[in-house]
């Protein structure tokens, strides 16, 4: 394929698919734990303590990878759907809006990975 025929859409579509997957499989339990069980006092007091959370998500490799897998594909999945959802709502955008949407998610992804790896 000639370089001028390459499109970014397959890459964005793959990230959207990955995001759909992580949101479907990982996010429900995370919302249940962080947003409902913890506030209602249904978890042991120290379950989400700073010591435990930072030791897992910032200091262990499995935790670092979990944090990245939980957050980064989801950003791309959501922004892809928000961007295309604007079309469904009869808001017709242009290349600048598209660049703004995906560009801000690219920055957010890089910051997320940097925080997890070096934070």
């Amino acid at each position: 394929m000639k370089p001028e025929n390459r499109h970014i859409e397959p890459l964005l579509w793959s990230l959207f698919g990955a995001g759909g997957m992580t949101i479907a499989f990982l996010v429900p339990a995370v919302i249940l734990v962080v947003g409902i069980l913890m506030p209602m006092g249904l978890l042991p007091a120290e379950a989400l303590s700073y010591e435990r959370m930072s030791a897992f998500f910032l200091d262990s490799w499995i935790g670092k990878l979990s944090a990245i897998a939980l957050l980064v594909p989801g950003y791309w999945g959501c922004i892809h759907r928000v961007y295309h959802g604007m079309h469904d709502l009869q808001i017709h955008t242009n290349e600048k809006v598209k660049l703004g949407c995906y560009g801000s998610v690219l920055v957010l992804s890089i910051v997320t990975v940097m925080l997890v790896l070096f934070g």
């Binding site: 759909g20 997957m21 949101i23 479907a24 499989f25 990982l26 996010v27 429900p28 339990a29 995370v30 919302i31 249940l32 734990v33 962080v34 947003g35 409902i36 069980l37 913890m38 506030p39 209602m40 978890l43 042991p44 120290e46 379950a47 989400l48 700073y50 010591e51 435990r52 959370m53 930072s54 030791a55 897992f56 998500f57 910032l58 935790g63 944090a67 939980l70 957050l71 989801g74 950003y75 999945g77 959501c78 922004i79 759907r81 928000v82 959802g85 469904d88 709502l89 009869q90 017709h92 957010l108 997320t112 925080l115 997890v116 934070g119």
Partner: protein
């Protein structure tokens, strides 16, 4: 590039016409909730990196009544996404694969996977095993 695609005029509330369209838009709306919630989780990561006080502040925000209501709605929308995602999975998978494995088996395995992953995450949190 000077692309000027023809845009067919449509009323902005076109989806109110049929129940199937309304359901499509409801499901698509879940992405807004998930985007906001992932920004909330990103804020949690930032606070975790900043230290114990910042993290405890973020946990306190999660216990705010408005935030709990938002979490409940987001969980419902996320489950709607999960159920529709799993139900359509056989239709978007490679069709050679689809001829070999019946749709209902694929869906059953994926629902079992969702239940197993959720049980592991909630179980680990409950046991404080993170």
């Amino acid at each position: 590039m000077s692309r000027r695609p023809y845009i067919r005029p449509m009323p902005a509330n076109w989806f109110m016409e049929k129940p199937a369209y309304k359901f499509y838009m409801l499901r698509e709306a879940s992405c807004v909730f998930n985007l906001v919630y992932s920004l909330n989780l990103f804020a949690g990561l930032v606070q975790l990196v900043r230290g114990a006080d910042a993290w405890n502040g973020w946990l306190a925000v999660q216990s705010n009544a408005t935030m709990v209501v938002f979490a409940v709605i987001t969980l419902a929308m996320t489950l709607l996404h999960a159920v529709t995602f799993i139900n359509m999975a056989p239709r978007v998978s490679p069709q050679q694969l689809r001829k070999m494995i019946p749709d209902n088996i694929v869906r059953a395995v994926m629902f079992a996977g969702l239940a197993a992953v959720s049980a592991v995450i909630v179980g680990l949190a409950y046991m404080g095993a993170f």
